[in-house]
Symmetry: D2
Subunit: 415 residues, 4 copies
Amino acid sequence: MKVFDELESAVRSYSRNWPTVFEKSKGYKLWDEDGNEYIDFFSGAGALNYGHNHDKMQEKIIDYIQQNGITHSLDMGTTARKTFLQRFHDVILKPRNLDYKVMFPGPTGTNAVESALKIARKVTGRETVISFTNAFHGMTIGSLSVTGNAFKRHGAGIPLHHSVSMPFDGYMEGHDSISYLEMFLEDKGSGVALPAAIILETVQGEGGVNTASFEWLKKVEEICRRWGILLIVDDVQAGCGRTGTFFSFEPAGLQPDVVCLSKSIGGIGLPMALTLIKPEYDQWGPGEHNGTFRGNNLAFVAATEALSFWKDDSFSISVREKGEKVRATLEVLVEKYPELQGEARGRGLMQGIACGPEGLASQICRDAFESGLIIETSGPEDEVVKLLPPLTIDEEGLTLGLNILEKSIQHVLHH
Amino acid sequence: MKVFDELESAVRSYSRNWPTVFEKSKGYKLWDEDGNEYIDFFSGAGALNYGHNHDKMQEKIIDYIQQNGITHSLDMGTTARKTFLQRFHDVILKPRNLDYKVMFPGPTGTNAVESALKIARKVTGRETVISFTNAFHGMTIGSLSVTGNAFKRHGAGIPLHHSVSMPFDGYMEGHDSISYLEMFLEDKGSGVALPAAIILETVQGEGGVNTASFEWLKKVEEICRRWGILLIVDDVQAGCGRTGTFFSFEPAGLQPDVVCLSKSIGGIGLPMALTLIKPEYDQWGPGEHNGTFRGNNLAFVAATEALSFWKDDSFSISVREKGEKVRATLEVLVEKYPELQGEARGRGLMQGIACGPEGLASQICRDAFESGLIIETSGPEDEVVKLLPPLTIDEEGLTLGLNILEKSIQHVLHH
Amino acid sequence: MKVFDELESAVRSYSRNWPTVFEKSKGYKLWDEDGNEYIDFFSGAGALNYGHNHDKMQEKIIDYIQQNGITHSLDMGTTARKTFLQRFHDVILKPRNLDYKVMFPGPTGTNAVESALKIARKVTGRETVISFTNAFHGMTIGSLSVTGNAFKRHGAGIPLHHSVSMPFDGYMEGHDSISYLEMFLEDKGSGVALPAAIILETVQGEGGVNTASFEWLKKVEEICRRWGILLIVDDVQAGCGRTGTFFSFEPAGLQPDVVCLSKSIGGIGLPMALTLIKPEYDQWGPGEHNGTFRGNNLAFVAATEALSFWKDDSFSISVREKGEKVRATLEVLVEKYPELQGEARGRGLMQGIACGPEGLASQICRDAFESGLIIETSGPEDEVVKLLPPLTIDEEGLTLGLNILEKSIQHVLHH
Amino acid sequence: MKVFDELESAVRSYSRNWPTVFEKSKGYKLWDEDGNEYIDFFSGAGALNYGHNHDKMQEKIIDYIQQNGITHSLDMGTTARKTFLQRFHDVILKPRNLDYKVMFPGPTGTNAVESALKIARKVTGRETVISFTNAFHGMTIGSLSVTGNAFKRHGAGIPLHHSVSMPFDGYMEGHDSISYLEMFLEDKGSGVALPAAIILETVQGEGGVNTASFEWLKKVEEICRRWGILLIVDDVQAGCGRTGTFFSFEPAGLQPDVVCLSKSIGGIGLPMALTLIKPEYDQWGPGEHNGTFRGNNLAFVAATEALSFWKDDSFSISVREKGEKVRATLEVLVEKYPELQGEARGRGLMQGIACGPEGLASQICRDAFESGLIIETSGPEDEVVKLLPPLTIDEEGLTLGLNILEKSIQHVLHH
């Protein structure tokens, strides 16, 4: 680790929590340079939904490289790009009756969000964007402006503008956050301007696995329709099957105006992002938003292969089944260990336990790492143990990981 | 191309200028699906300095994949990351007597710039950043605020703040832009606050191949020292050898406080970026800036291999020699074709011809494409034909490309 | 009225509602050029608490002019300024155990607010200021940023920043706005930064005569203390006795850090404003905020005389008694005329009837004007008939005005 | 002075430079409580162009008060307002062929500027306003954003936006500030957006008596016309005859789109301000900008009387003659006392000597005060002795004041 300490910036974070040098990985497992094995309940913060180094994707990439396929292309036409676009349309959009133009905004989630905010402002001619408490949308100034976390916001070094933070579903017991939002929009004296867009995550990953009800989501969409506000769903972490459907908003029946995808869209963990825009709002001028790495063709190749998981319902069903198993286990844990002051949260394979006592969740995750489980916290006070296993994990892996988690809970509580 | 028209967003740009589907590439050549061959004087907008699909890099990547090396790691420690850090230190920083902490800010140039602006603001406690006319630093809101282009800025949909635009070297004939900058800083009534940083490109790629003199650069650095302003060099396009040295600021003798690298740092065109920060300014809190794709290990592997070019002076010398040949040719063209109202600009293999008549540069580039040369314009009015061949191009390729360029000039002028 | 139509800007408003040319005034009466008499339930929007052309104040001003007393002095020392400062200290601050430095910020309410915001930001080093729904604090950009009204805000022509709008007391039935505010401050992921200040009116005049409970006010103060936030009370309209005590916050037992006074502080309606600052926060540099008309000495003379009203409790008591009479009448009206869908609001002689049906309040006020009563609406939809009679009005005047009001209600409802 | 020290805020400034309590004044003289007499070369920072306590204006005001004329009226129609509007039209606008709608924006200069900025942004739909180095336009956030002084700007406690500072006429020797401005507007990559307005003072009072040439002013106007930018002249200090014509821009032949007037427009020093707007740009909604003290009727009465000075050319001519005398004297002083490293600046009775050595101008003004002359410094470093005698001053007073000034120069230099 000395190399990192000496040569790398103090900004590094995960390498502090998991102080080892990882060398190899496959499926739901990683190995470090000393040969230790780890079970992965983290999945690259949701970028490895299909597990590490998926055989078929590896094969396709190697094959592509060996044929001297175009590696880097900005937004030039390439065979790999064309194939991906066609497949994404056939496998994802068409069967769901979704009509979106696909934008490649640069290969990161924050780039997808920045472009979504731009197009919403351009289309409406308005400036304000409403986001929600504990939202996380990225670290560049546009995305950071709609992110809730005070530490991250403060890192901007400048005041962040053009955004208003409203209470997420269930933010305060007994407060109906929808009627609150409506009140601010209806009242001409509220101090909140009619926004260009409302941006939301259906499940807030970084914010603490806060899970919006389908009813709440539907009401937000209705508000957007009534007021001519664009609805942006940031599905960077909750999308690509994480909650049990390709898009996290499917079971709520939403039809967002703009959707941000990144993380697992690249299949094998290569940088890639998409901004999906309803055709009527695709009012960009050529090059009005751009970036050098919009054409990461190795990612297109892996992404195309990854879409094979979505050819029929079977994958989706298996994720939900695993999700139910995780949920059942978490509820048992919460009941069995009242000292946790725990609350089970989440959907699909995006779940967590919010812990009452300060610092407890972090202790559990640290202990789990020592027992070979990679798992991280989330929430403004790092108060939630967040489970993001690969969606492809098998019964055995899931059980193994959950067992380590329970042991760490025991260990930390009774230490 | 129908697939792109139907499925992709209107924001695409290069695919409009070069309307074909590229399939393969090697060195300085590309081939489209119809088997047409193209010479590349564009190099992925500077992301392919070492040419397309470099054999050794391909080999290393395939090897790494076959060994199930970690593909995606955020900022976790990995073998590939460690090796890159060590090699970058040994081959680049140490021999140049440069002492920087290496930050992986996310895999795009704009992410490197956003993090540079953040750390400068944090370290100084100030907000304003001075940038220069025709600067290009990226498309996310922070970077866009220090970018000059009106069309790109307007795309933000919100006013862009915390930045002041000053005249770049040679902006107006007869105006000394340094004394202008000094005056604004010295005069307590100038309306310009003491900035956190001055950010600059030594050669403005997107802005029109505007090339700062070493003397001007040195004076800007002196101003920074005198006033306690951080000097940020955005070497995303001009760095990684493009102008004939690894960092474009080496011949000027600068020691910037922060350096942004991206594009060709990933060797083979995979998304990657670095922010280099003087140790005394590396005052980040852990995770204060982050991002999912900070750990693109395939890029680390290719990047490590790419550093082999810098083990001794030979590569650097060859780039400068090719640069001189290009310059000589451009000056001949300018003289030979007075209708161009042309001006040769640039350094190393980052050169261009600024053309007087409106639309002329675009016509030349379009014509060149039809003759098998990929070359783009730059400048606020697309008035500059910009030459960015791969640094690895050979004599033959260079001559071939320059010949096509001349024919296109003839063709357009005498049509 | 032709002169106004032809020569004056379209921005004029009151002269449209009351289309006549006023010539003379005394106490609670005005007369126009045609000799029509009007009862004043408007009092210069609260600037004429002591009625029109108070004899004693007129006398003092004339006397001062005749002695060639200094008229205009910026912030130079003058006899009139000195006398006012001493009297304000003796009659107002000392008896109330309030310790404030007196700042003359320029002669308008918005100037008092702008200076309050500046000093709060300077003292805390923070930028955000929390204001409340339907707040009105002024029309210059700083004050407008903490004002709720959408029409006024839109008039800025630029986005308004550095402010967050929170729900005022009773904003939504069943929503506890205090716990809401607390939640946003406590939660590190709320998206709302720790503010420099909270600014409030105890009774929102322009916003619709919304009246905060003393308990709510006290809780806001406690929040300020707990978090190190400055509490600014904008007493421009509700102060100077309007609600029955000199400062409107006295009965709530508040000790604001900064208080803004204007309107009736000048006694006879001459422009004047004060910013009262706790000594520990009076951290201005000399001239850091200034303005040409800080030294309106005729206003100082009238203001000094006006303080005579506050030598003992009698005036205060009489205002409250009149207030109770008004309240009783309004409640009768609300009950008697259910078509009003009315709600009686307010404190002291700052009261109103919120009317349900759209446009009704405006109709009533228009009708009242035709019957010789000057009275205006307030609220974001002009839905409140607002009563601001001079505090010095006698029994007869009050009855007369209230009778006209009732007749206009009848007239409008049964027309 | 103890009262001020103990009871007043630390923000006070003039009372620190001139530490006495003034009691009476007439014409160009003031007397303090100890009976000391002072000659006034300051004129309330330009608010007392017609001298102190002008007999006729006093008479009119007293008469008005005694008739119980309306004192305070917001923007209601009153006899005094009507009379002023008519007289202003007849005496000022019509003879100069100027067609403006008159807006009463609130009684301070900064209010006039804030409303000017608002209407320019509304009319053009743009946000940026270009101002000039060392401009002073006021202390509320909108006006402060277009003010150059770093100390004042810093007092805002927030970053100031939507403005760009360009070099005033003669800002840097050898730099042509007009072509500089043009270059930034023409170049689509300059980083400066097409502005809503350019705001300027023809002579910068606070900024150091910097005097724009008529040619420069005309060129700025031409730039405005060419680009559809509104030209705002802030004539708050330089207007009302200060430079020898009623509007300071008359001799340059400008026809600004918006003009800000305040200070001496109220005649006797009472708070008053006007925003003059070309009819085609008077696109306000009713009440879109407002304020309590827009109807200061005592000021209207004095202002109407003051317009008598402008019935014919004689006053204007006399101001210019006195101005020439002052200029001749200043040039003699500069030559006679080379230690001043002096430069004579200004127009009409708005003149000054810029002094080279640090602190010298302040010392001279302090010394002058001790000898009975009230005179202040201006400029970002307080480096200019600024002469603003009443325009009504007679030969004797002018000579007296200039003599004291010379003695103070001698005294300070040879001390």
